[in-house]
Amino acid sequence: MAKRIENKHPLAIRWLHWINFPMLLMMIWSGLLIYWANAVYGFRIFGYELLHFFPPWFYETLNIPFRLAEGLQLHFFFMWLFAVNGVIYVIYLAVSGEWRSILPVPASFKRAAFVALKDLHFVKTLPPQGKYNDAQRIAYTAVILMGAGSVITGLAIYKPLQLGWLTALLGGYEWARWEHFWLMILFVLFFVVHVVQVAVAGWSNFRSMVTGREVVDENAAVSIQPEPIP
């Protein structure tokens, strides 16, 4: 059966995606060095703390204690790279039209539920999709919003006087720090699910984020008009 090569991920998206990975990693790592100095958050249900962030073994294993100054230095360095990379990514999505592959529509939420059922092996067929399914669209759009949220809550903690209006909007200094922390937890959850899904999807899909290309069947994607590759 004949094949086609799909030009799936533009060069800019691939670089921005892969640069973001170590930047996010460094933001989370330096954030942990900072958080250790006032580690007050936990996961509570009915007033009972099920999980404290973080248990002592976690800090000891990763050698986190007493590195607050280093954490702040790293955080206030990588914040620029993380934010600038993210802003370029959003501008690129907007200008190139790639947003059409990533944005969900209202009906996406129902279809995303079917994707989840398929992933859990309750149903056999996936809803029709383009480059990404509707669950992916929601996740990839959410992660952009999370990035924006991290920058905004971060600014509110960083300059609570000069950006006092922003800090107030987020519920005050203490709440802004809490929000900043939980966005980090969401990033980690996103990362875990993302890596598992990539592993499940297989080599060809992973390789497409490096080469940009993926081999598809000749008659794949009949519902979407193919644009010839120049």
């Binding site: 059966m1 004949a2 094949k3 086609r4 090569i5 799909e6 030009n7 799936k8 892969w18 170590p22 900072i34 958080y35 100095a37 006032n38 007050v40 607050l68 100054a69 280093e70 702040l72 230095q73 206030f76 360095f77 039209g97 059409r100 592959s101 944005l103 969900p104 529509v105 009906a107 279809r111 809803p127 029709p128 999709q129 383009g130 480059k131 509707d134 669209r137 960083y158 300059k159 609570p160 006087l161 000069q162 006092g164 107030a168 200094y173 203490e174 390789r207 490096v210 080469t211 940009g212 290309r213 081999v215 598809v216 994607a221 519902s223 979407i224 193919p226 644009e227 010839p228 590759i229």
Partner: protein
């Protein structure tokens, strides 16, 4: 084909189109007009060959970039890395100072929101101090080269200012405290600081002529902080002598400490012994331990 048959056929096509349309509208990619970029049909062999070439290029470039990033960072000499990070803190400071406006005020809280006090940091407080013989030395004043020495009563003669603000520790916690004291700007208005030009200072209309820094230290000089002039002249920067309605205790910096929502607690020096207006960036205890010199909000 008869005309009738033709009509039926067209009808069928329309119907199919309609059904197809409904199917297509079920696809988010269709709704948003996503385009796919596909090559011409290729044989299996040709597709495999092309992908191999793309893979070589992609993984080589990506791998090289990853190695450069990881080993570049790991093998960067410690002093180069320190200069890079310290330089970034100083760049961040420039950005912060460019956006700084003294008119922006930190929120004030009600009396019921005052937190239990928290003692943190006793550097410079180890020697016993008799508040009765304590005096404040002020250097770098206009028209004199020696220090002016004033008492707590001189300071209390300045307008009394009270505020209930959030004290933010660089460790990440914050507490609400009620303070009473003299605005630092009121002190500077009474005891005029030296200027760059040598002319008499005008805090309001010619702030750029003021010396850009203030150095503060404990009487034993073991704790010392540096402030930029605009932050220390902020209307909410106080030389406080009362905390939560009572005179400062020794652990909180009696008889006089600096408080301000404009900077972290590390800058809010307790038990001030000397204040100096200066043109040179002052030494700062925690900046020398790797923290941001500016540490400003």
């Amino acid at each position: 084909m008869s005309e009738c048959e033709e009509k039926i056929l067209v009808e069928k096509v329309r119907e199919l189109e309609k059904v197809r349309k409904i199917v297509d509208r079920e696809n988010t990619a269709e709704v948003l007009g996503e385009a796919r970029r596909l090559s011409e049909p290729l044989s299996d062999e040709e597709a495999r060959k092309r992908m191999a070439a793309y893979s070589r290029r992609g993984f080589l470039a990506g791998g090289a970039a990853a190695l450069l990033g990881v080993f570049g960072w790991r093998w960067m000499p410690d002093d180069t890395k320190y200069r890079l990070l310290r330089g970034t803190l100083e760049f961040d400071e420039k950005v912060s100072r460019a956006f700084y406006r003294p008119s922006r005020l930190a929120p004030e809280f009600s009396a019921s929101q005052i937190s239990p006090p928290r003692v943190n940091g006793g550097i410079g407080l180890s020697e016993d101090l008799d508040p009765a013989i304590w005096k404040l030395n002020i250097g770098g004043l206009f028209g004199r080269t020696d220090d002016l020495v004033i008492t707590l009563d001189d300071l209390k003669a300045l307008p009394r200012t009270e505020m209930t603000t959030e004290l933010k520790c660089i460790e990440g916690w914050s507490i609400v405290v009620h303070w009473a004291g003299a605005r630092f700007s009121d002190l500077a208005a009474k005891f005029l600081p030296a200027t760059k030009s040598g002319r008499e200072p005008d805090l309001v209309s010619r702030p750029d002529d003021l010396l850009p820094y203030v150095s503060l230290s404990t009487p034993d000089e073991s704790y010392f902080v540096g402030w930029d002039i605009e932050s220390i002249l902020h209307p909410q920067t106080l030389l406080a002598y009362e905390m939560n309605g009572a005179p400062l205790t020794a652990a909180h910096g009696a008889p006089l400490r600096l408080v301000s929502p404009a900077k972290y607690g590390i800058k809010q020096i307790k038990r001030i012994g000397r204040i100096e207006f200066t043109g040179e960036r002052p030494r700062d205890y925690w900046a020398e331990q790797g923290y941001d010199w500016y540490a400003g909000h």
